[in-house]
Symmetry: C2
Subunit: 405 residues, 2 copies
């Protein structure tokens, strides 16, 4: 494995340079780009499984193995082969947030009873479709939702999404905070919780689950805040009285920038055990990013290299519309060359896409070697919230997808 200060933070045994070639899951990425065509998303089944096993193992090690579930947040990436792969592991269920997601998960092999459903602003048509799926577990995030579901499914067990009024998320990224100082649309606050219980009671609904999700992309430094969030949620668990499961949402992050450190899962389970070791509540966690983000590369073709004034631009044949996170959420995807000689001189370049918009910039001041004999680049960490959020803006929406077994 070649290591340099510019490229060592993201290399790992299944994604690294060997000799000159970048290998991913044992395959030459240059060959993949050439075979698949670009733009193309390549997902590694091995990495997805590793991420899932690591998470399960951390829960096992912390003594939570038998009383915890992992639910994949399929909104992160709904590529059908990936969903079937996850079902085949037998180690995770699904977090779905729309009727079409439920239909799609079932079409990929999941049972309705594998699916935990948590959404917002459902229509009567949505409720009618969802009610068809026996075993689907519904979490309600408004008083209105409790009433709507109660009318269709009286006497059943439901979850309530609560809003602890404090948020958590990647520092400096308020777009990814779901609860906090301002009042958000998500979940039921303390002030309305008693009324929620009364409405549930009217329809003989049992509140068996409390759900909260308060931000995305947290790493180890944010675990103190997760601790405070769970602390706030204890009140809801105690007040409901009938709770057997707690869903702590998703939001487990992966390193995005050179200074990021991976989430310390031992510290993460320590926070869970602090709150849940002494009771027998079943814990659910809903990762999206954590399972698939670093298991995906976006392969693009170089279109030009040209200096304009003080900036050296590298153009590629894909724009932010097929992977909106870098442009819209301030989470750039590091571009990396598909072959590389250790010790090559590196220069800062700005990698830009093919959309006529000022924000269509993949990465500013990326360190790259001379690209004269390069046809392609790979953008790392493109496995989540990329293809699943793609648009056909400027009619530039075409791309390939591929799962490496």
């Amino acid at each position: 494995m070649v290591q340099t200060s510019a490229y060592d933070w993201w290399q790992r045994p299944d994604l690294c340079y060997q000799g000159r070639q970048l290998l991913f899951n044992g395959r030459s990425v240059e060959n993949l780009a050439s075979e698949l065509g670009t733009p193309g998303f390549v997902y590694s089944a091995g990495r997805v499984r590793d991420n899932l096993y690591r998470l399960r193992q951390a829960l096992e090690t912390a003594g939570l193995g038998d009383r915890s579930s992992v639910l994949y947040a399929m909104k992160a990436n709904r590529y059908a082969p990936l969903l079937t792969l996850l079902k085949q592991t037998g180690l995770c269920g699904i977090d779905a947030c729309s009727p079409r997601e439920v239909e799609h998960a079932v079409s990929c092999g999941f049972d309705a009873s594998d699916i935990s459903f948590t959404a917002t602003s459902l229509s009567p048509q949505d409720y009618a479709i969802l009610a068809r799926y026996d075993g689907l577990f519904m979490t309600c995030d408004t008083l209105h939702a409790i009433q709507s579901w109660g009318q269709l499914k009286p006497g059943t067990a439901i979850g309530i999404r609560v809003n602890p009024a404090i948020g958590i998320g990647r520092v400096g990224n308020d777009k990814l905070q779901y609860a906090g100082c301002g009042t958000t649309k998500f979940g039921i606050y303390r002030e309305q919780f008693q009324e929620a219980l009364e409405i549930a009671s009217q329809y003989d609904l049992t509140i068996s689950k409390i759900h909260f999700h308060t931000g995305c992309g947290y790493l180890t430094p944010q675990l103190e805040q997760l601790d405070r969030v769970i602390e706030q949620c204890q009140w809801f668990i105690n007040t409901a009285g009938s709770v057997t499961r707690v869903n702590i949402g998703g939001g487990l992050g992966v390193p995005h920038l050179v200074d990021d450190q991976p989430l310390d899962l031992q510290q993460w389970t320590a926070v869970l055990n602090k709150h849940f070791a002494s009771n027998d509540l079943h814990l659910e966690v809903e990762p999206g990013d954590y399972l698939v983000k670093d298991a995906g590369l976006l392969l693009v073709s170089k279109t030009y290299v040209e200096t304009k004034r003080d900036t050296r631009f590298v153009g590629v044949n894909a724009g932010f519309n097929i992977a909106p996170e870098p442009a819209h959420y301030g989470l750039p995807f590091q571009p990396v060359p598909l072959h590389w000689d250790s010790g090559s001189p590196m220069t800062p370049v700005t990698v830009v896409g093919n959309i006529n918009e000022a924000l269509d910039v993949w990465y500013e001041n990326a360190l790259l070697p001379d690209l004269a004999d390069h046809d392609y680049l790979a953008l790392i960490n493109a496995g989540a919230y990329s293809a699943s959020m793609a648009s056909n803006h400027c009619m530039r929406g075409e791309f390939k997808e591929m799962l490496l077994p």
Copy 2:
């Protein structure tokens, strides 16, 4: 026409309350919502034509009628019936930015010779497709593009997109500025212009057009800046020597907020005449927003009304994924009721969508009447950069579209 301080800024003869009903292009919007289903985009052919006629008329009145062209920026809205409608007026061509856009425009009735093509980061495959269209006019935005096109089409006329190094756009919205202090990927700067002319000369290309586009959504207060931008571009026109056409880009805005005033077209043409009255250059303008933004409504169904702590939320059955401007570009769509009694008490509500993301908010503190007997809302100014940028995020990407004749 019912007028109140909350609702008077956006009402106009073809979009206003008559009696209790909101009418659009002479049709009851409530009936439209009921017939079409929601979420649905409804576009008014009449309003699009009015916008186009107004722009043409302003150019005529300023003595620029015979020496100006309007090119519709189809990236704003590529709904096929709308493109055919625009072709049928005989009053505009097309600004296209990708090979698929060219194919689509031609499939809707435009000739290749109606199309001005200006894009960025084109691939060899892109150039090969574009070269098939006889009459398509290519504007190049890099030295590399001049070379690539020159190899395919030596001896032809081209445009050069230049970067005047100053920008223009809606105040406070740097996402919509395309040129300015920082170096952007767009166009060729002064520093590289001589080299651009030399490369063109190698391929016997004639530079017959100078193109610039430096921002979006400008209104009357920004015309001083447009003046300065054109001033900067004179150098390129003079230096090229062979220019017969000048394309001043798009960016003409429409009012979005209660305090916005419509762009004063007489002042706009005065800026053009200041620079171009004394020569015989043909002028091109590429509006997108100006032609279609206020000609479109997004019709949504109310899903719930509920107070959480200090905020009254109105949920609807559509999220930011089908119309990203409000969430991602800070340009909220005013929600309006489909029926309304003048003098009804109004209260501030926050209108939110059905996507599990914190930024999925349509409008904060919108003044709306009691919605107990309302099934729907309309979001105004949804005719541009909405459906054309829609994604299937959370598998909530389904919507209807309709052109009112």
